[in-house]
C-alpha cells in the first residue's frame, strides 16, 4: 500500500517532544510532512531494520553463489537488498541493545511478521517488562502494557516517541517506502573500499515519495550482495543516521545480516543494535494472527 496516502491522523499538538534517547530524533523537520518530528523516514530496508525487522522475512535470497554480473542493473541489486529484509511471513527472536550516554539496556524479544503491514513484538526479558508487546497493523500501532493490563493505541501525536527506549520511533515502524519504487537509484561508486568489492548506490527520493531524507547511500558488497551500510542524509546534506549490517549468517536456509546497528549522528556513542538469534521464514501466519487479542495473550 502506498503509505503516502496515509497521512498521520492527528495534527501534532505538543511543542515538547516525547523524550527519547536519540538525539537523532530531535532534528529539524526536513520536509513538508505534517509531523514535527523529522528524522526518520524509512526505506523499506530500514523500516525492516527499524521495525526490528519484524519485517525481516527474507524473500528467497539470491543464492549465495550468485554473483552480480555486469548485466545487473543498479535497480536489480537494490531490489534484491530491499527484498532481503522484507518478504512474506517470519518468526524469530531478537535481542535489542540500546546504548545511550545515560544507560545501556538490553531486551530480549519475540516477533512475528506478515508482509510489511503486520507485525507483533513481545518482550521476553527483562522480567520487569516481560509481556509488554507492540502490534503494528498497517499504519496503526498498539502497545499492550501488562502492568496495568491495558492496550493503548499510539496516537498520531505520540508517533514521534521512542519505541521501547530505542533510537527508533513509532514512526519508523509504520513509515514504509520502497527503495525501488520511491527512489531514483544510481551507482555512485563501484570498486574496492576497505578491502571489499562493493557497490555504492545513491538513492534520491522521488518527489511524491513518503520519505523525509534528502538522500540515502547504500553500500552492498559484491560477493554475496549483502548490504553493509546505509547512510541517511538530512536536508542540510549531512549524515543524520547510519545503519550498519554485519554478522551475516544463514538462518532457515537464507543468508541474512543478523546484526543491525543504528547510530544517530548527533549523539555520538549512542546506538541501537538488533541481534537476531533465531529466524524462520514463510511460517503459516495469516492476517488474523495479528489481533488485539493476540497482543494481550502470551503466545
Amino acid at each position: 500500500m502506498p503509505s503516502h496516502q496515509l497521512i498521520p491522523r492527528e495534527a501534532p499538538i505538543d511543542r515538547h517532544e516525547p523524550p527519547r534517547r536519540g538525539r537523532a530524533a530531535r532534528r529539524v523537520p526536513s520536509s513538508n510532512l505534517p509531523r514535527r518530528d523529522p528524522g526518520r523516514g524509512t526505506l523499506g530496508l530500514v523500516s525492516a531494520a527499524a521495525a526490528f525487522l519484524i519485517t525481516l522475512a527474507i524473500v528467497p535470497a539470491a543464492p549465495a553463489s550468485a554473483q552480480a554480473g555486469d548485466s545487473d542493473t543498479a535497480r536489480e541489486i537494490v531490489q534484491h537488498v530491499d527484498d532481503l529484509l522484507r518478504g512474506e511471513s517470519s518468526h524469530g527472536r531478537v535481542t535489542m541493545e540500546v546504548v545511550t550516554d545515560r544507560w545501556t539496556r538490553s531486551m530480549e524479544m519475540e516477533m512475528w511478521s506478515l508482509g510489511q503491514n503486520y507485525s507483533l513484538v513481545r518482550v521476553l526479558s527483562p522480567a520487569r517488562e516481560a509481556g509488554t508487546a507492540t502490534l503494528k497493523v498497517e499504519r496503526d500501532i498498539w502497545n499492550y502494557l501488562p502492568r496495568v493490563d491495558r492496550t493503548i493505541r499510539v496516537p498520531g501525536s505520540g508517533m514521534g516517541g521512542s519505541w521501547m527506549g530505542s533510537h527508533f520511533t513509532y514512526d519508523d515502524l509504520v513509515r514504509e517506502s520502497s527503495m525501488v519504487d520511491d527512489y531514483e537509484i544510481e551507482i555512485s561508486f563501484e570498486g574496492e573500499r576497505d578491502g571489499t568489492e562493493i557497490w555504492e548506490f545513491s538513492l534520491v527520493p522521488l518527489p511524491e515519495a513518503p520519505v523525509v531524507w534528502e538522500s540515502v547511500e547504500l553500500e552492498v558488497r559484491k560477493d554475496d550482495r549483502m548490504p553493509i551500510e546505509m547512510r541517511y542524509f538530512d536536508d542540510r546534506g549531512e549524515v543524520a543516521r547510519t545503519m550498519h549490517f554485519s554478522n551475516f549468517q544463514t538462518m532457515d536456509g537464507r543468508l541474512v545480516p543478523t546484526e543491525l546497528s543504528m547510530h544517530p549522528e548527533d549523539a555520538p556513542g549512542e546506538s541501537t543494535t538488533l541481534f537476531y538469534e533465531h529466524l524462520e521464514f514463510n511460517t503459516d501466519l495469516d492476517a488474523s494472527f495479528f489481533s488485539l487479542q493476540r497482543l494481550r495473550d502470551e503466545t
Binding site: 492527528e10 501534532p12 499538538i13 505538543d14 511543542r15 515538547h16 517532544e17 516525547p18 523524550p19 527519547r20 534517547r21 530531535r26 540500546v98 545511550t100 545515560r102 544507560w103 539496556r105 520487569r128 517488562e129 509488554t132 502497545n143 502494557l145 502492568r147 496495568v148 491495558r150 493503548i152 493505541r153 499510539v154 496516537p155 498520531g156 501525536s157 505520540g158 516517541g161 521512542s162 521501547m164 527506549g165
Partner: protein, 420 residues
C-alpha cells in the same frame, strides 16, 4: 519675602486681570494633564496586564532550571544536574527572599494518555498544588473536580484533552511515558479534575498530576525536578531577585540557572518598552498642543500690556525681571492647571483603579504572546505618571511663555509710551 515668591504673586495678580481667559486656558491645560494621566495609566495598565498574563498563567516571574534543559527539555536535565538538588531546601531559600511571594517545583514529561476508548499525546506536568497556586493562576481554571492529591495517582486534564478522550472526573486513564531509565513508564490514574486555561495548546494536551506521582512514573528521584517557578511581588523586580537568588543558591549544586521573565520572555519586555514609548508620544503630542495654547494666551497678554512693559522699562526694570514677570505668570497658570487637572482626573483614575471596566464581553479573550489577555480597562496604580505629567505640564507652560516674554522685553519703550 523672597524674590521668587514675589514674581509668582505678580503672576497670580496678572492672571486675575483677565479671569475668563485665564480660566479657559487653565482648563484646557487641565484637560491635557488629565488626558495624559488617564491614557498613560490605561496603557501602563495594559502593559502590566500583558506582562502578568504572559507570566502569571503558567510561567511565573522567575524560573530555575538546569541550563541545558531548554530548549530540548530532556528528561534528565534536572536542576542541579545528575545528582539533583534538595528541592525542599531550594524552595525554602527562594521563598525567604523578601520580594518573592511564592515558589513551586515542577517535573515535566511527555507521553500518551489513554482512556478506555481512545488515546492522545499528552504534556505531563507534575506539580505541588498548594505551592503552585501561590505562583500561577492556571489552576484557577479548574472547571470541575479537585487538584490532584499526592500519592493518589490523580490527574487533572485539559478540557479539550478530556473531551477528545471522552473521559470525565472519576474515570480512569492510563499514562504511558518513556522514563529516564529507558523503560516505558505506565500507570493508571484517576481523573480528579478538568482545567481550562483558554490557551488551546495547553487545554488540548495538559496532564497535571502531583509531582511525586510523575517522578515515580518517569523513574526520577525525589531530588529530580525540571523547574522551579517563582512569583515576584513586582514583576519588574524579577531581574534583581534573580541576581540575589543566583548568589544565594550557588552552594546547592551545579547546573542551577535562575532567569527572570525578562530573559525568558524578552518579547514581553519589548512590548513593555513599546508601551513606554507610546506614553512619551502621548505626553509629547498633548503638551505640544498645550504649549501653543499657553503661548497664545501669554502673547495676547503681553500685547495688551505693551504700555505697561514700556513704563517699567522706562523706569529701569531689567529685562531679566520682565522675563520673570511673564514666566511667573505662566508658572502660576501651569500650577493652577495641574491642580484643576488633578481634580478632574483623580476620580476617573481612582474609579479605574478600583473598578476596572472589563471589556472582555466586547473584545473577547485574546491570545497574545503565549499569554491569555483579557481586555480590562484599568489604570495601573503609579505615582510616576501624575508626577511626570505635572512636571511636564509646568515645564510646557514655562517654555511656552519664553517667546511672549522675549517679546515683552523687546517692547520699544519710547514708541509704546507714545502710543505708536
Amino acid at each position: 519675602m523672597s524674590d521668587r515668591g514675589f514674581w509668582v504673586r505678580i503672576g497670580w495678580r496678572n492672571l486675575g486681570r483677565h479671569r475668563r481667559r485665564s480660566v479657559i486656558t487653565a482648563v484646557a491645560l487641565a484637560w491635557g494633564f488629565a488626558a495624559v494621566v488617564l491614557f498613560n495609566g490605561i496603557l501602563e495598565g495594559m502593559g502590566a496586564d500583558f506582562v502578568r498574563s504572559g507570566t502569571d498563567l503558567m510561567a511565573g516571574q522567575l524560573r530555575i532550571q538546569n541550563p541545558d534543559y531548554e530548549p530540548e527539555r530532556d528528561l534528565w536535565d534536572v536542576i542541579g544536574g545528575d545528582g539533583g538538588v534538595p528541592v525542599g531546601e531550594l524552595l525554602d531559600r527562594v521563598r525567604a527572599d523578601s520580594d518573592v511571594i511564592g515558589a513551586t517545583a515542577r517535573v515535566y514529561g511527555s507521553g500518551i494518555v489513554a482512556s478506555d476508548s481512545t488515546s492522545r499525546g499528552g504534556l505531563l506536568m507534575g506539580i505541588l498544588p498548594e505551592a503552585e497556586i501561590q505562583v500561577t493562576q492556571f489552576l484557577e481554571g479548574l472547571m470541575e473536580g479537585t487538584v490532584p492529591d499526592p500519592g493518589a495517582y490523580e490527574v487533572v486534564l485539559g478540557q479539550e484533552l478530556a473531551r477528545q478522550l471522552r473521559t470525565s472526573v472519576g474515570e480512569v486513564v492510563v499514562l504511558v511515558a518513556p522514563s529516564s531509565d529507558g523503560s516505558l513508564g505506565n500507570e493508571l490514574f484517576t481523573v480528579s479534575g478538568i482545567v481550562r486555561t483558554g490557551i488551546p495548546e495547553v487545554d488540548a494536551a495538559q496532564v497535571v498530576m502531583h509531582l511525586d506521582d510523575l517522578q515515580f512514573l518517569l523513574a526520577l528521584g525525589p531530588d529530580d525536578v525540571h523547574e522551579v517557578a517563582v512569583a515576584a511581588a513586582n514583576p519588574w523586580d524579577a531581574p534583581a531577585v534573580a541576581e540575589r537568588l543566583s548568589a544565594g543558591l550557588a552552594d546547592l549544586g551545579p547546573d542551577i540557572l535562575i532567569e527572570p521573565w525578562t530573559s525568558f520572555r524578552p518579547e514581553l519586555v519589548e512590548f513593555a518598552n513599546l508601551i513606554g514609548g507610546m506614553n512619551w508620544i502621548i505626553l509629547l503630542v498633548i503638551f505640544l498642543m498645550a504649549a501653543f495654547g499657553v503661548a497664545n494666551t501669554m502673547l495676547m497678554g503681553t500685547f495688551e500690556r505693551r504700555r505697561e512693559f514700556a513704563v517699567v522699562k522706562a523706569l529701569g526694570m531689567r529685562p531679566g525681571r520682565i522675563m520673570a514677570m511673564v514666566v511667573g505668570e505662566a508658572l502660576v497658570l501651569g500650577l493652577l492647571a495641574v491642580a484643576a487637572g488633578a481634580l478632574i482626573s483623580l476620580p476617573l483614575v481612582l474609579w479605574l483603579i478600583h473598578y476596572p471596566v472589563d471589556l472582555t464581553p466586547i473584545a473577547g479573550e485574546q491570545m497574545f504572546m503565549e499569554g491569555l489577555f483579557r481586555f480590562v480597562l484599568r489604570v495601573e496604580h503609579s505615582w510616576d505618571i501624575p508626577i511626570r505629567a505635572a512636571i511636564g505640564l509646568v515645564i510646557t507652560a514655562v517654555l511656552a511663555a519664553i517667546y511672549p516674554a522675549l517679546r515683552a522685553i523687546r517692547v520699544p519703550a519710547a514708541e509704546a509710551l507714545a502710543g505708536r
